[in-house]
Each structure stands twice: as structure tokens, then as C-alpha cells.
Amino acid sequence: MEYIPNTKEEQQQMLKVIGAETIEDLLGDIPSEIRLTRGLQLPPPLSEPELKTEMLRLSERNADLLHHASFLGAGAYDHHIPSVVGHLASRSEFYTSYTPYQAEMSQGLLQTIYEFQTMIAELTGMEVANASLYDGGSALAEAAMMAVKVTKRNTILISSTIHPSYRAVLKTYLSGANARIIELPSENGATDLVAVGKRLSEDVACVLIQTPNFLGCLEPVEGLAQEVHRYAALLGVAADPISLGLLRSPGEAGADIVVGEGQGLGCGLNFGGPYLGFFATRKEYVRQMPGRVVGATVDTKGRRGYCLTLQTREQHIKRERATSNICTNEALAALSATIYLSIMGRQGLREIGRLCLQKAHYLKHRLCEIKGFEMAYQRPFFKEFVVKSPVSPSRINKKLFKQKIIGGLDLGTMDRRLKNHWLVCVTEKRTKEEMDQLVTAVKEITT
């Protein structure tokens, strides 16, 4: 077996040192009643060439986005990934290492995390960021839990314009906590400010919003922040990091915690994961922050170096009183994001923002020229928007698929009130030609 080097002779030599006759002698602690007396019923092993053929066949039963133009977003985005990202993140010194418990042997990775924390803090407009969380949904849940700890209050107001799956994940995460979760209604595609004003009280730990929100609309972050702070509650904002080269940062607008899904920053779509949760906040809350953090320090000779720090918040020390139970996080995805942001840089991220914004508005304009199509909400948007369609978006999508186009999300399949609402996403990868083709196909089906 190519992954197990021991030969029979070596096994014998080792057994001799151990003072056992056979490997079986080492297993005496396993009660005989539970020993497996048969082989596991698994498919027979495949050699590497057979394995690759079999797995390729399985992969080809999927309609991949290399061969289809996708207008599907809803939290997972088909952004361009520079070749550099995959190559550098595939350096096995990085990907076959683990959490850098022994800092002196892991300086390379620790420095990339320090750079990641800096970039996330910069993008979000916050003071500090952690080394990553699992994904956008759990990051939002962690934000709520931190707000409960910081404020010692237990009501969470969550906007109904947040990604429905994030809201669901948050509810699951907090189902064991003594917290009250109240959903805020929306108005014209964004959080209803009047409702927020009515619901805010001295019991509220935080208000949570997403911008751009699930419906693609930008939220009035600044106005919300002022309202929320009047009650000394925290404002938690889930943001799309790709938008933050162009759009104002939530931190600047007054957010206290900024989290989100970082998949767009150089992580493939991967049928939903691994993705990248990020978490940034104000320095004053850093000791209540979940997850790993890297800090700069010096060695015994005064040279700069990096190590995991503030570990007394974490499960391996604080155990049942830890700020979170997270251990393994998404370090490699954070590395990809760091490489991605280094390649894109100051100008590139802004340029992607510009391309998304312009192209999405072009498609919106073209779609709304078609009879029966109109925008569902009148709000500024970035790369995603909801159009009302005279026919079922699922029907349109079926037709588009025949032309190797993957259409937007049919919101009616998730929420009956949103029947015939189509959530369309345009990244910098979509061309005018593809958009025109989509428009032509839509026209054919609706007229």
C-alpha cells in the first residue's frame, strides 16, 4: 500500500522491540464482544488510474461552471480566481501543516494570517479581525453570541433581508442559548427602519443586517447604526468583501461587528464549501472575540515574529467558559483570500467592484426593457438584483440551461410570497455577449 511504508520485516522488527508476537497482541483492550469479525462492506479498492477515471465520471455528471455561464449568486459567487491563488495555496508547506501551535516552526503561515487579519480589518473598516471562522452563517451566529456576552443582554434583532440560510444557521447555533431572536420586517427590499425603532430597547444586544442583503439591496447602515447606538446595543453587519473596494465600509458607517462570507476572495464554488467566514470588530471587544488570533511579538534576540495569541479565550484553555467552541477553522481559505487580495490590490478590488456594478446595471436595464419585467425593489444594488418576471423563473432557467446558461435563483421556490421573483447575479466574469444571449432567450420565452 503506497501510503503505508511498513514492510512485513519492519513490522516484525518493531513487534520484537515492543515485546509482542503479532499486532493482534496489541489489541487486547478491545473487548472481544465488539471486535468486528467480518470485513467492512466497502467497495473494493481502486488503483490510482481506476480511481481517477471513476471520479472523473462522477464529476462529469455535474454541470460545471467552466462550461456554463452562471448568473446564480445568492451567497456563493463565480468571481475570477487568478491562477496565482491556486498555485501558491497548493504549496504543501502550507496545506499539509496544521494550526501553528509551535510558532517557531510555522512563521510563514502565521505571517500570512497576520496579513489576512490586516486586510480584513482594512476592508471592513474595523480595528481587529480573527484568523477565520467556518463560513458566513456561523460567523453571523458567533457575532450574535459575542454581542450577548458584551452587552449582557439577550434579545437579538435580525433583519429578514439577511440570507435565509444564515438566519437559519444562527437560530440553530443559538437554540441552546438563553436568547430571544426577533426578525425585523423589510420595506422595499431593505430592513424597515421604522420597525427597528419600535423594537429597540434596553434588552437588545444587537441588530444584525447584511449589505448588500440577500435581495441584492444595499442597507442604510449609517442610519441604523445611530438608532442602535442610542440604546447602547451593537450593530452587526454581514458584508460582501468583494464590494468593499468600491463601497463604503460598514465600520466607517458605524458597525460594531463586521462578519461575512469570504468565498468570493479566491475560493472556488466547490458546491458550497469549503468557504471562509471572517470576523472583525472593535479592539475593545477583542477578548470576547471567537476564534484564533495571531499577534506580532519579538523573540529572545529582539527579532520580530508571530504567534497565536489571546488564547485564554479559547476552548483548549477556557473549556466550558470559552468564547466559542471553534478549533479547526478555515486557515487555507484565509490564505487564499490573502493571496487574492495581494494580487488584486488597492486598484484591482475597486476595478472588480466597478465591473460588477456596471455589468449588473446593464443587465438590469436590458431585462427591464422586456415587457412584463420590472425591478422588485427601488434601492441601490451592487452585483445582484431581483426582477419580477411574468413567468416562472424556473421555467426560464430550464430554457437557459439548454443554451449553457445557468440562470438566477427562483426566489419563489424558497418563499411563496416571492413567486416569480428572480435573483440575478452578474460578476466581472460575465460578458456583454452572455448577457445579451440571456436577454434574447428570456424574450423568446415571455413573448
Binding site: P45, S106, A129, E330
Partner: protein, 482 residues
């Protein structure tokens, strides 16, 4: 030489990206977006050419140590070799470039993979259903504990406490708290196993579950597992397995046959998905059929029309993932399972156990093993005897770095003073086990002759011992422009 920060390498005007020109008529931004939504100052990202970026991260990778460079006996983490074929397969376009919300007709291959991976893990663990959604072991624990909670509630039984051994990993008590439970600690006995008498005193109708690791964190098989299961079940409580140590059991015995009701397995340990420098992982969670109604949604099912995602499960604890978990890692784990087959897995566990016992035996006279008997896939030695030289487990770990070996886990489990937790895995060749043993023995000699050399290690890396206290006191968590 250490690498300067990427921000310090930035040169205004340099560019590393390549993007297409705008191919639609440009509309002034002011017409699309009110000014107060726009960013005034660009974020302080670096400006670099492609080659600058490539050299920066390549050089940083060279100041980092992974399994591909050498031995990584980090106990409890199962740092085994990560097969390269897994990486190739995970990058097939049909897996890597697939959107999670594409209709099921377009993703049948991915759903089939999930279905078959679940079937394989069911067989390996002896459980009835498995969810592949948890992103890591700790998230698996949370899902498992919330399911246990939902189960007790559905029986009108609001149990309030969870029992955790004193040798348990920190995520166990942290998770129990997160799931809304009070944590009670059961002590280990003189053999390093759960103290049955203590457990008897603790288990009562208010007990929701015992979270147990087996083999436990000392690397010892809980011989009384059937009695433990009986004790809990007769009180109406459930038995949770932290399956971080599943690598010791493959094809030898199955948690489901030992009485465990819930089991998580860290696919990044036993099933070779790379540890990634600290994730992403994957934490499959298996349950017995009576708990299946509480599984998180969606559940992959096979129907006449093909594979589907079932979300209509009224008793489900809800969602834990926006989509279906760390699919890329699930592809790697499945690829590995198909490569190994039943015979391969038996070799995995038996060789992991053989290697651990070999090192234990070679070191035991110099590094006492407090609970010394045949171990499973790992064992815990103690460096307590070196305290009189003012040398600690932590120092020995640092000195190992100079020998070019990644140190074992130190100071865990907490029931062993100055713990050195050593897990060789089955993928390490004998000569490396020998080299490790010789390094450890040589360090023991150094402690006698020149303890300061050990205390001040490492001496050969880009940095010497780092001041971790200073990192806390003078917090510096990000770069800022000068």
C-alpha cells in the same frame, strides 16, 4: 532571514491583476449609487506585480513546516500523509466549479458522491445515518449535542447536564455549554480510564449525555465501554463519541457496536483531507436511527428520480451550514475511501497502533508513560522528571524543532503533568520513527548536560523562542501604515 510584510513591499502604481475591459456602456457611478454608499479612500491593500506576490508567499511557505517535509507526531491531530490524488480529484471542474444552488438535475454526480460517502461512513462507524455538513469536529459536536437535546425534549425530558471526562478535549465542554448544558466532569481512574464509580455517582435522570473519546486522549481503549453504555442508557442518557481518534479503530471495531448513539469523525484526521494550516476540515456526524429525525437539513436521499435534497423534516434541528458542508473535503475523503477499501483500512489502524507502541517502548525508560500499557494509535509521556532541571515539556517541544521534527502535542490531556502526546500515524516510515526516538533520547541527555540549551531552543529557525506573554500584553494584531 524573515520575510517583510507584504504591505511594506507595496509600490504605488504596481499591478498584479488582469481583468477584462468593461464591455458594456459605462454609466457614471453617481447615477447608479448615492455618494454616501461609496468608499472614499481605497482600502490599504498592497500594490504589487504578480512575481512580487509569488515570491512573497513562496518564501513564506519555506518558513513553514508540513507533513510533506517530515514527521509531524502532533498527538490527537492524526497528521498523516495527504494523498496527492485527492487534490487532483477535488479540482475536477465538475466538483470545484459547481454552484451549491444549481438545481439537483445539474448536480447528480455531487449528490451521488455525498450519498455514497454517507453509506461508507455508516458502515465504517456502525451508525445508521450520517450528516456530512459539519465544517470541523467542533461543529459536529455542536450538531450532535443539539440533536441529543432535541431528542430529550421530544420525550418531554429537559435534561440539563452533560458529563465530560477530565481527559477530554476542550471542544467537548465548550460545545456542551454552547448547546445549553451544564458540564460535569467525571474523573479518570488509576488506569487512565473513566472511573466507573465516579460515573455512577454523576449519572442521574438529569443527565443528557456523556461525551467520551475512545480511544481516549491518553491513547487507551476504554475497556469498560459496554458497561459505560449500559450505565448511561439505563438512566435514559445518551452516549456521544468524540471520534477524533477513529484512526485506531478502522475495520477493528465500530462505535455503533459499542453503544454509541452519536459519533463525529474528523475527516481531516482519519480520512486524509489536508489540515490546511488550521482548516478547512470536515466533521461527519453519525447517529443511530432513533435520532435521524433530528438531523440537520438538507439530507441527501436516493429516489426513483435520482438523488434529491430532502428539506421536509419537521423534527430537524435546522440548518448548520448555508449549503452542504465542506464539499471539497468530502470529495477528498471519498476518494481516499475508494482507494483504501476494507483491507486498506485494517492496515491503516494496525500500523498506526504498531508505530505508536514502537515509539512508546523505545522511549518509556527515559520519558515515563504514566498509564503505560499497550496503547492504541497514540500515547502520552510525561516530562515531569525534568522539572528539577527547570526544563518543561514545552522546552522539549521547542528543542525538537532544531532536530527538524514537528513537536508532539504538549500539556494535553490535562490529567498528565508535562504531557507529551505522540501520534505517529501509519504513514510514517520506520526510519523516521527511529530518528524521532533518537532525537528525544538525545534531548534527554542534553537536559542532563546543558539544560539551558533546551530551555532556550529553538536555535536554528528564522526566529528564536518567541515572547508569547508580550504578544498578549502589547497586542499587535495588524499592520498599520507608518
Amino acid at each position: 532571514m524573515s520575510e517583510s510584510l507584504i504591505f511594506d513591499k507595496s509600490v504605488p502604481g504596481r499591478k498584479g491583476y488582469s481583468l477584462p475591459d468593461l464591455d458594456v456602456p459605462e454609466v457614471p457611478v453617481a447615477e447608479l449609487m448615492p455618494a454616501d454608499y461609496l468608499r472614499k479612500d481605497p482600502p490599504l491593500l498592497p500594490e504589487l506585480s504578480e512575481v512580487d506576490v509569488v515570491r512573497h508567499f513562496t518564501n513564506l511557505s519555506r518558513d513553514n513546516y508540513g507533513i510533506d517535509q517530515g514527521f509531524y507526531p502532533l498527538g490527537s491531530c492524526t497528521m498523516k500523509y495527504n494523498p496527492k490524488v485527492n487534490e487532483d480529484v477535488a479540482r475536477y471542474a465538475g466538483f470545484a466549479a459547481l454552484h451549491p444552488l444549481q438545481p439537483a438535475e445539474q448536480t447528480q454526480g455531487a449528490l451521488q458522491l455525498l450519498y455514497q460517502l454517507e453509506a461508507a461512513l455508516r458502515e465504517i462507524t456502525g451508525m445508521d445515518r450520517v450528516t456530512l455538513q459539519p465544517a470541523a469536529g467542533a461543529q459536529g459536536e455542536l450538531v450532535g449535542m443539539l440533536m441529543i437535546r432535541a431528542y430529550h425534549r421530544s420525550n418531554g425530558n429537559p435534561c440539563r447536564k452533560v458529563i465530560v471526562p477530565d481527559s477530554a478535549h476542550g471542544t467537548n465542554p465548550a460545545t456542551a455549554t454552547l448547546a445549553g448544558y451544564q458540564v460535569q466532569v467525571v474523573h479518570s481512574n488509576a488506569d487512565g480510564l473513566v472511573d466507573l464509580e465516579d460515573l455512577k455517582h454523576l449519572v442521574d435522570p438529569d443527565t443528557a449525555a456523556l461525551m467520551l473519546t475512545n480511544p481516549n486522549t491518553l491513547g487507551l481503549f476504554e475497556r469498560d465501554i459496554l458497561k459505560i453504555a449500559e450505565l448511561l442508557h439505563s438512566a435514559g442518557a445518551l452516549l456521544y463519541l468524540d471520534g477524533a481518534n477513529l484512526n485506531a479503530l478502522l475495520g477493528l471495531c465500530r462505535p455503533g457496536d459499542m453503544g454509541f448513539d452519536v459519533v463525529h469523525s474528523n475527516l481531516h484526521k482519519t480520512f486524509t483531507t489536508p489540515h490546511g494550516g488550521g482548516g478547512p476540515g470536515a466533521g461527519a456526524l453519525g447517529v443511530k436511527s432513533f435520532l435521524a429525525p433530528f438531523l440537520p437539513v438538507p439530507v441527501v436521499e436516493k429516489t426513483e428520480k435520482g438523488y434529491v435534497l430532502d428539506i421536509r423534516r419537521p423534527q430537524s434541528i435546522g440548518k448548520v451550514q448555508a449549503y452542504y458542508g465542506n464539499f471539497g473535503n468530502l470529495v477528498r475523503a471519498y476518494t481516499y475511501i475508494r482507494r483504501m477499501g476494507a483491507i486498506g483500512f485494517r492496515k491503516v489502524s494496525t500500523n498506526a497502533i504498531l508505530n505508536a507502541n514502537y515509539i512508546r517502548k523505545r522511549l518509556e525508560l527515559v520519558y515515563p508513560v504514566p498509564y503505560n500499557r499497550f496503547c492504541m494509535h497514540e500515547f502520552v509521556a510525561s516530562a515531569k522528571k525534568f522539572r528539577d532541571k527547570d526544563v518543561h515539556a514545552w522546552d522539549i517541544a521547542k528543542r525538537l524543532i532544531d532536530y527538524g521534527i514537528y513537536p508532539p502535542t504538549v500539556n494535553f490531556p490535562m490529567i498528565v503533568e508535562e504531557a507529551l502526546m505522540i501520534e505517529p500515524t501509519e504513514t510514517e516510515p520506520k526510519e523516521n520513527l527511529d530518528r524521532f526516538c533518537e532525537a528525544m533520547l538525545s534531548i534527554a541527555k542534553e537536559i542532563e548536560e546543558d539544560p539551558a540549551r533546551v530551555r532556550n531552543a529553538p536555535h536554528t529557525k528564522s526566529v528564536a523562542r518567541l515572547d508569547e506573554v508580550r504578544a498578549v500584553k502589547q497586542m499587535d494584531l495588524r499592520w498599520r501604515p507608518a
